[in-house]
Structure formats: C-alpha cells, structure tokens
Symmetry: none
Subunit: 156 residues, 2 copies
DNA sequence: TATTCAATGGTCAAGTATGGTCAGAAAAGA
DNA sequence: TCTTTTCTGACCATACTTGACCATTGAATA
C-alpha cells in the first residue's frame, strides 16, 4: 500500500524524467487538487524527497502566477560532487539523507545499481544498528556481514 | 501441536515460494490481525527465523504505508560464502581481517575491483576512525564522505 | 503613488498510521 | 524441575496527513 507522499514523489519524478533540461514547474494548489490533498502535503513531499541531499533544488514564488520549480542537479555541469563532498565533511546524515544521496549518485551513474544497494544497506539502521556497536571491530563485522548478505541476494 | 510462531513462519515461507524473485512484502499489523496475535509476535518470528544466518534479510519501514520486506538469500549455490557468513556473525573483525576478506571476495569475483575498493575504504581506520563517532548520523556522514572520495578518484 | 486585496505559497503543531523494543508471564520441552 | 521458547502488553520511534494561521506578490483601485 503506497502512501500518498510516495505517489506524489513518483509523479514529480516522472515529470522530471520527461523534462529535457531536468527542470519542471508546477503549482502547489493544482498539484494538491490533482491528488486531492491539502496543499501542505506538497511541501511535505518536497522537504522529505527533493532536498539538495537528494540531488534537487526547489525554488518557489508566491502570489499571483506563483509556482514551484524543481531542478534536478546535474553533477557534471556544476561540480556538484565536490560541493557535496565539502558539505558532508564533518556533518551528520540521517538514514533518509544518506539513502537519498546514494540514490542520486546512482541516477547520475556514479554508482552501479549493485554498488548503490551495497552501500545503502551498510548505512541502514539495521547495520548501523540503533545503538552504537561496542567497538570498531564489531562494527566492521556487521558491515562485512551486510556485504555478504547483499552478494547472496537472489533479486539482484 | 505447532506453535503460532511456526505457523507464521510456514505462512511466510509459502509466500516466498510463490514470489518470483524471493522477495515478499507484508504489513505487520495485517499479519498479526490474520493470525490474531499481538504485532510484536511478528517481530519475534522475524528475529528468530528470518535472520541473515537463516538466509534472509528483512527490511522495514514505519509510518503510513509502512511495510515489512523479506528477502531470501541464495545460499544453496554458494556454500563458501555461507560458511564465511556464519563465521562473521556476532564476531569482530580487525581492519586487517576485513581487508583480507574483501580481497578474497574480490579474487573470487564476488566483488568488482571498484566495489572492493569502495568497501575497503569504508572499513578502513580512517573512516571508522579509532574512536567511535558520537552517533550514527556522524558515522554515516563519514562513510558517505569515503564513498564520494572514492568516486572522485580518477584512477578507477 | 499608495492602498487594497485576491492569488499564491510557507510553517508548524496536532493527529494518525505504521513498525520496534523490551521485560516479564506462560507454555513447551528436556 | 529446570531451561528454552513463545507470547503478551506497555511504551517508543518514525513516517505521513491535515488544518489553522502566516507571508509574499502583483494587479486593481483609490
């Protein structure tokens, strides 16, 4: 059972796929009308799935003729990779953010599908389990275990 | 008399049999409703019968539209990996050991050269730095940093 | 020009829908 | 009986949805 947010996300990403320059413009009210939800639902989707960490920038404008513009970042054109790198140094990333970033790197073909899955699993809660492991060697074992499990998967 | 846990286990494994790619998705609440038990019973079954050691990976998501995804591992054809896997469970690995293991996986063509490098860097002392990071989000940032650094390398 | 106001979009907190954890009770097995 | 496994329920964490109220913009109007 997919959530509304996921539907809206999918819809927007389809629009972006079909846009030649990786930019789309929509109206918040129109979108929310289409999906029969409150307008702020759109904001929720944007703020959880179209952040810079996910590889997107959102620009908006209020008032008459207002709009929501979603821009998919393209690494090649503006050295985004190095910028990302700098931004991430010394920072913290939630699972959602790191997942988004890996997905982005995948989409930009900096990672293969398998690489992305490997890395996503490693940075997931299950591996970096809720509580911090006692020491680095334990953590390493958990990571290697995750790697082996991924290699063993039938569906990739 | 078969226990409820065994029933649930059997049920899930039947579903997996009928799934094409060894992956199924269920909802915890639906399942517990079906078997008329408390939701946490499902967790019990998952954690006692669908662990990586048993040949399964479980991925979950909370919140609206949440799910429990069970992925069957392909252990039949890969005895060597399975043995390795069992050895690692609950153990600890020094950097040297994990590097050796990755090297082995590379040599046996379970990993590409690039994958091996990515993973080796992640499990190196520099990333999983001597002292444990303050929290998971910090650790994730360190890992992503390492990934980006590897991607940026021109020699692979 | 200054003011007003309709048309947009933004924020935030509360409510709902999932799933997770853990400790102790109950049941089963040795 | 003693131990292990199973079951239960109270409490927790995360993700999604909704609605009341706020802010900005541009066009119409005074």
């Amino acid at each position: 059972m997919s959530s509304l947010s996921r539907e809206i996300e999918k819809y927007l990403k389809t629009l972006l796929e079909n846009a030649h320059n990786g930019v789309i413009e929509v109206q918040r009210s129109t979108l929310s009308g289409f999906f029969e939800c409150v307008p702020s639902q759109i904001n929720y989707v944007l703020s959880t799935r179209f952040t810079p960490a996910h590889g997107y920038i959102v620009e908006t404008r209020r008032g008459g003729g207002g709009y929501v513009r979603i821009i998919r970042l393209n690494i090649n054109s503006n050295n985004k990779l190095k910028i990302l790198f700098d931004e991430i140094i010394g920072s913290e990333l939630t699972q959602n953010q790191s997942e988004g970033l890996l997905e982005y790197l995948r989409k930009e073909d900096y990672l293969t599908r398998r690489e992305a899955i490997l890395l996503k699993n490693i940075t997931s809660e299950n591996v970096l389990a809720g509580s911090l492991p006692k020491n680095m060697d334990t953590l390493r074992a958990q990571i290697l275990q995750s790697i082996l499990a991924t290699i063993l998967r039938e569906d990739i």
